[in-house]
Point group: D2
């Protein structure tokens, strides 16, 4: 029986591609996403066509018990979850505080923070019992600093990062590797950036910035996810960043409004 | 008419004492807290006895519209809120993930993060219209790093810090001063630390650590709150820390389990 | 006898103005700067004209024993140094790595890091003996993150910040308050920014950005320095930032080169 | 002709082992260290015995022109340096400020910060001309926060981290990958930790903490170094941490002296 890699948030970008990578390396990839049954089945059949094992489930992670039930069923029907990827974003584009109603702010938290807590709460006891397990969390620039228009996103991602550190503190010494992977730039992902920008603007971006490797490529991201998941327990990475060579890191503020860079 | 200083979370520790300080400096202090009508009235009458102005309200900040209605009524009945102190904690002591049920985790967020969002959302438009205003947020070590037993608290406080940065980015250039004040140690506060420890252990702590100024004194904290609120807009502080001289800063990890300090 | 406030780097900007503030509050201000005897004497006579006490010394802080001898003489001739301000900058404008020769890089370190170490090494034993003392260090954005053109400055300031934390760890529990004050923006200072920009560009900046309180005003900065120096030892601030309301914080990167703010 | 991997600081721990890894993956490993000709030759012959290519040089990196001449000669005699590992430590154990004389403090900077600047200054222009190159910098906990006894080390490492960010800002868009690898714990390295502790204490540590994978294993560290060096330029990591599963991260302060974890 293959070990299981569960992906929460398996669109055509990071999530699905990481699932493919783990499947290619011998895992049974269990792909969960909120919508697009067709896209989901394509991911599953692509993996199978390449000789891998995969299952796909539509699931709204914010629904009561959705994560908890999925974890329980996967463990029962498919096998022990050795690696789990929490890849739910909470990016809604730039919105002023006035344009961010309470429901939106709360949904950001439910997807960005609370879902991760729920996942850890139902899965970690099983991993602790087995003495090992890996949780890879896709994170975003907004986890490192708030910014205008990012009230909901930054609050959700900042909470997520601190939660990752708390989970690490309690569970690393019990054998669970928690990694917070900061994706600090635009990903070449049709299901997220593509939808945020619209097809034309996204295509244009791909042909300019993307043509020079200026968009993070999901299949390259997947290689680092896989590397981190396989690190020996004497050398675990808890935090790392990923960005395109041409991109300005989150901590390098612009000189706009400044007379000199300070 | 005196300018108004609204305190959300006005217990006998930081909140109430900061309220007293602002009242002594010429503000009408509006004190809100969840419970203990008697304690609340004592704060109000103490301020009045000292020649100041104050009002007190019991309010559960997580109730629907509680913050929004209070802000609206204060603005209508008492006067424009010039300074607001968001002093709601979300510390529940150290609890493992297993001991942190979803309701607890969610309550942490409602008090630690969501309440601050709600406050800013209803009050900032008024401050923007007036061209000025100040929001001082009491923060905790858990905003800087997660730790074992701090799943709920760190997620709430980490989200809060990133929210403060987002609010600052949108609203500082519109005249609103947002400050995130990291209280990195134990406060000599009967209503919070006292209740967490119980009366005996708290008294003992006061007589040992406290006797050497090793507990943060609320009246001394209040001086810095007041200073920050009065900073000229050419020199606003967005983040600062406060700790007792004998306390180990959050970033100075112990040498436990290490052969050398590294 | 008045307590002494020693200022290392007392130009017409932060250093001299902080010296004036402490003199106005009852300290004997000892002002040290590398050059401009005339400017130095003007600061001293301004303080005296206002009824304060001051002394001035030309001193190149990077010279062997310059700091050590000055500290010894001040302690002997004027009185115990209660507060010391380390205000030496190491900003040389933006320079590529190719434009930053070893001598320049080394000078940055000598002014930015090594001088502070030397100051602490000769003065802290005296403060420890007296049971108290305060060191306020002016810091810059480059202490928080490197940036293009900032190789020398960032290395010097990054080392300085970590040194401040080390000094704090050893000496706070022995009664010495060390504060790292991040000046995150352009200061309205003729001796530093003025010289960097040249008189015309500086004047223009004052009339545009400065006219809206968009340049940090030294006399307003001085108020916070003084506040920090007077904090009760139960509530010491170790790190705080200062910036103009209209300025973008160091951690808020621009959206340049990004399709969305992330 | 094989691509060259130059290692500055190639002892029996991280440096030498990373050199071996790159040699095994097809690089010519050029190993430089200050002393122990015998140890150096053993590394070189081990690599050759395994079918790899290697050269070894004794070099005191702080000597004038030592790095510059070595780089020039390697480029001339062996081949273009594709990857360079800067692995010089500056750890001298815990020393109070009084026990840290100026020469020691300066040496820390020369090894920790200045040597890296010198390396980049002589090598990066060649890499820019070739359009690519990789610099991996071994870093330490002290780069993230100062601590008691770490005055020299923290100042050196803090400067180093900011320098890495500056180099990244100027050179990433020109094709050079700079990575700052935080080794946040004790490494199973006889040449560094072994010498710091002495043979008996080191052996004891290996048999206790080490027996449970609680010391970072150099050959496992080397896998991550190699992975980072091979990342596609659309997904470069600039910062990551490595620590043993049982080790407390630098940001998780102890609860010592605190009544509750905060």
């Amino acid at each position: 029986m293959k070990p299981v890699c569960l992906v929460i948030g398996a669109g055509a970008g990071i999530g699905g591609t990481v699932g493919k990578k783990f499947a290619a390396e011998g895992y049974h990839a269990v792909l969960c996403r909120r919508s697009d049954e067709e896209g989901l089945q394509k991911l599953v059949s692509d993996i199978k066509a390449a000789g891998g094992e995969a299952s796909g489930f539509l699931m709204n992670a914010v629904d009561d018990n959705a994560i908890e039930e999925r974890v329980a069923e996967v463990e029962k029907d498919i096998g022990p979850i050795e690696v789990v990827i929490y890849n739910l974003g909470a990016q809604i584009g730039n919105r002023s505080l006035a344009e961010t109603p309470p429901k939106t702010f709360e949904l950001g938290w439910r997807m960005g923070t609370f879902g991760l807590y729920r996942l850890a709460r139902c899965l970690f006891p099983k991993m602790v019992e087995r003495g090992s397990g890996t949780l890879l969390v896709t994170s975003a620039t907004a986890a490192m600093r708030g910014n205008a228009g990012q009230h909901s996103h930054a609050a959700a991602m900042g909470g997520r990062r601190m939660l990752c550190q708390s989970l690490n503190a309690e569970f690393a010494p019990r054998g669970i590797h928690v990694a917070h992977i900061l994706v600090d730039g635009s990903v070449d992902a049709p299901d997220t950036l593509g939808k945020l920008l619209g097809p034309e603007k996204f295509q244009e971006l791909r042909e300019t910035q993307g043509a020079q490797d200026g968009l993070l490529l999901p299949e390259k991201i997947a290689e680092t996810y896989f590397h981190v998941a396989r690190q020996h327990r004497s050398v675990w990475t808890h935090e790392l960043d990923l960005r395109a060579w041409t991109d300005v890191p989150w901590f390098n503020s612009s000189a706009i409004g400044r007379s000199v860079t300070i």
